[in-house]
């Protein structure tokens, strides 16, 4: 095993060099970064030896935001400026947040944009920006620890995250200056870590109850292929809710009535949640816990909570997780007894009652010997290592699904499903539309995500305005709209008029996401802060891209160069030389142009190579038979 190789920033990479990649678990309560080093996967600690980073950011005037333990220490004293559980706000509108979350200790500001902001002493911040602060810390930690720039990262998201929530996560990564190799579903990441470790085969269930989200995934493991059969969940259910019911119980016991909630200070609420969380954790090992809280009037309330009482309080919440389990099994087309192993993930699966209920449901003891806090980050790191190209011969493959159906608004405010939930991604579906009026040149489509029939019961992802449809009589135009969901679970929409072949322009208005302009502005602001030049950053990005493309091309030509005759090969070589020259020109636009030119020149080669490999895969079943 080679020693860890450290590369200077800017140094060009050679094909066999180890690329620095990391897996990031951006959690509701805690976040983690992990990497594969010398064949071992490990989570990375901060300078004080903490592996977990509390997902808490505190904003103050005239100072950089503080993240993690330091922020947590102040959260009760300064609740309005200390943002916790920000993941619950990702990709959500204000109305949506307020409907789901009771008694939030923040001041939300509505803005012109679809994305609400939280008012803090350090300015008004969106959930994407808060998350990017957490990611920046983890990026720094990884780069310090590995001694170089990260090539790319895999960031995990709840499997049940919808398109807007996924996009928000990707935006946060972009703001933090991270290259996202893939968004990976948390239960799938856990399955990878577990499956590779145990060399498991067969059907497994991953029950992932985190701080704020719940996922259940059913997977089939077969010779290194992790095939998600079905997933279900609830993106607003987790340990936070356990704390909430305990906090409410304390309030009732302390004689603070439910009606008076509004009068309880933010500080008091935070203290109550703290105590409730501590009590919950203590009850994992003890049968009873004593609780003492300071009330707003300075007096104290003291009492006892038994595990039995606690179980009763959380029973409805655990019950709520069983319905998605049922649905996932049915969508997977299997019975509970066909599940070989149940893997427990997320801190909330430490609650003994959760384990009991899951054991009852699946009729087997769930596996609890893996660390539920780190398994997701470890799985993400394994995937990142492969995607970065450090294990070219690895056979591992993840086949994931889209968690919620995608549909279109039709007449009568109904939703017509275009791609049903639990369809394996990537997926592309085309749908034909026509015009209603003579000479109509534009039309609008409304894309929704969810399982219900009515538009108002589904989640609006965005409105797409098509324009540039050639004028024709009503009903003559045939506009084919293609919905494509990529391997990150993100949707893109393209449109083409079929009779004339005219590509229609699409303008996207995301319902809950940031627009490209907003992201650009945020990026500029944050860079100004760091006193870094945007041009320098662009240049660096294009150089990295040029190195990546040149290296990939070289490897591809070495493997399959015989697919081209010398006439076909010449323009590719020429474009590659041009790109090498431009790479060191210092002009990021020139590099971009050379990249585009090379991309065009290599078109025949790329598609011929793909087809050849498909033929090999079909006829050979093993590549060896084809090598001389």
């Amino acid at each position: 095993m080679a020693l860890l190789q450290i590369s200077e920033p800017g140094q060009s990479t050679n094909p066999h060099e180890h690329r620095l990649a990391a897996g990031i678990d951006l959690g509701t309560t805690n976040s983690l970064v992990a990497t594969v080093r010398s064949g071992l996967t490990e989570t990375l600690p901060d300078s004080e030896g903490h592996h977990l980073l509390p997902s808490i950011v505190r904003y103050s005037q005239d100072r950089e935001p503080v993240t993690g333990y330091d922020a947590r220490a102040e959260s009760s004293k300064d609740p309005l400026n200390t943002i916790i559980s920000v993941k619950r706000f990702m990709g959500r509108g204000l109305e949506d947040i307020q409907k789901r979350e009771k008694k939030l200790p923040y001041e939300f500001v509505e803005t012109e944009s679809a994305v609400p902001r939280i008012h803090t002493a350090g300015g008004d911040v969106s959930a994407v920006e808060v998350s990017s602060e957490i990611l920046k810390i983890l990026r720094q930690r990884a780069e310090d620890s590995l001694g170089g720039d990260l090539t790319g990262v895999v960031i995990t998201v709840p499997a049940y995250f919808d398109d807007a929530q996924r996009q928000a996560t990707k935006d946060a990564a972009k703001l933090a200056g991270l290259n996202v190799l893939r968004l990976l579903n948390e239960p799938t990441a856990a399955a990878v870590a577990y499956g590779l470790d145990q060399e498991a085969e067969g059907v497994i269930a991953v029950y992932d109850l985190g701080g704020g989200t719940f996922d259940i995934s059913i997977l089939r493991l077969n010779k290194g292929v992790f095939e998600v059969m079905a997933t279900a969940g609830d993106t607003a259910l987790g340990g936070d809710d356990f704390d909430q019911v305990v906090a409410e119980w304390i309030m009732r016991q302390a004689g603070i009535s439910d009606d008076a909630h509004q009068n309880i200070s933010h500080h008091q609420l935070r203290r109550l949640k703290h105590e409730a969380c501590a009590a919950k954790e203590a009850l994992t090992d003890s049968d009873s816990v004593s609780i003492k809280v300071e009330l707003d009037d300075g007096s104290h309330w003291q009492g006892n909570l038994t595990r039995e009482q606690f179980n009763e309080l959380v029973e409805p919440l655990i019950q709520k997780t069983l319905m998605p389990c049922r649905r996932a099994l049915r969508d997977a087309g299997i019975e509970a007894e066909e599940v070989k192993d149940v893997v427990m993930v997320g801190g909330s699966t430490r609650v003994p009652r959760v384990r009991e209920k899951i054991a009852d449901f699946f009729e087997r003891e769930p596996l609890t010997d893996i660390d539920p806090d780190t398994v997701v980050a470890v799985g993400a790191a394994l995937q990142a290592d492969i995607l970065a190209g450090n294990k070219p011969d690895d056979d591992m493959l993840l086949l994931d699904v889209i968690p919620l159906s995608l549909g279109l608004e039709t007449m009568g405010s109904l939703v017509e499903k275009v791609i049903p939930r639990n369809t394996t991604i990537p997926v592309a579906k085309a749908q034909d539309f026509t015009t209603f009026k003579d000479g109509q040149t534009a039309m609008s489509i409304h894309v929704l995500q969810g399982e219900r029939e009515l538009v108002s019961d589904c989640r609006s992802l965005g409105r797409f305005a098509l324009h540039g449809i050639p004028p024709m009589v009503a009903g003559a135009a045939r506009i084919r709209i293609t919905f494509q969901v990529d391997a990150d679970g993100l949707l893109s929409v393209t449109a083409r008029e079929q009779t004339t072949g005219v590509e229609s322009g699409i303008e996207v208005k995301p319902s809950y996401g940031l627009t490209d302009t907003e992201i650009e502005t945020m990026l500029r602001d944050s860079l100004e802060h760091a006193e870094e030049d945007v041009d320098a950053r662009n240049l660096r990005e294009q150089q990295v891209e040029a190195d990546r493309v040149l290296e990939a091309l070289e490897a591809a030509l070495a493997d399959d160069g015989e697919l081209l005759n010398s006439e076909e090969r010449a323009p590719i070589d020429q474009a590659a030389v041009e790109l090498k020259l431009k790479r060191d020109s210092g002009d990021h636009r020139a590099i971009k142009k050379a990249l585009d030119d090379l991309d065009k020149a290599a078109e025949i080669f790329v598609s011929r190579r793909m087809d050849t490999n498909i033929q090999k895969a079909l006829s050979g079943h093993s590549v060896d038979e084809f090598s001389e």
């Binding site: 190799l181 997926v427 391997a487 991309d599 793909m610």
Partner: protein, 177 residues
């Protein structure tokens, strides 16, 4: 992988309703191992786009081949049957009667003494009809000329599928999902 290739050819399988599902799954995994975007994370933009397209195409073909209903429908389409024109649908009275009975049984579920047991019986009955229909379809597809009968059988199966979905919706409702 040319556009003219049908889904069976894409998987290197004969155009046949009777399919080796084990082999189908194996080929599917082999193909995805070759084209999946995870294999092209470091490739050029063009290769990455192409890989997403191919992987989506293979997923689509797999979805069609592994489901008996979709597979049958697809085979009939290959034989020139047009499913867009649903107007020429005439079901025999036997089938319609049976549909009405199954539908009534399902709609009575919620008012039954024990809705869960009633639902499970209803789902069983639908499931049995479903299975019988697939067997019938398999028979019909063996004969290249029975395209019209085949089309009707596919449409019947779609009816049963819809019933099944409605039953599942009731199940979720009963479970409070």
């Amino acid at each position: 992988m040319e556009l003219t290739q049908n889904h069976f050819e894409l998987f290197g399988l004969p155009v046949n309703f009777d399919i080796d599902t084990q082999q189908l799954s194996e080929r599917y995994r082999d193909l995805q191992r070759t084209v999946h975007p995870d294999r092209f994370a470091n490739a050029s933009d063009r290769e990455r786009r192409l890989s997403v397209e191919k992987a989506a195409q293979i997923n689509e073909a797999f979805q069609i081949l592994k489901s008996p209903l979709n597979r049958a429908r697809y085979m009939l389409q290959l034989r020139g049957v047009d499913f867009d024109n649903e107007r020429d649908t005439h079901f025999d009275p036997m089938f319609l009667m049976e549909q009405i009975e199954l539908r009534e049984e399902l709609s009575d579920v919620k008012s039954a003494d024990d809705p869960v047991i009633a639902l499970s019986k209803s789902m069983d009955d639908i499931g049995k009809r479903h299975k019988a229909m697939i067997d019938e379809l398999a028979q019909l597809l063996e004969n290249e000329d029975s395209t019209q009968e085949g089309k009707q059988a596919v449409q019947k199966l779609q009816f049963l599928n819809k019933l099944q979905q409605e039953a599942e919706a009731i199940e979720e409702e009963l479970a409070g999902y």
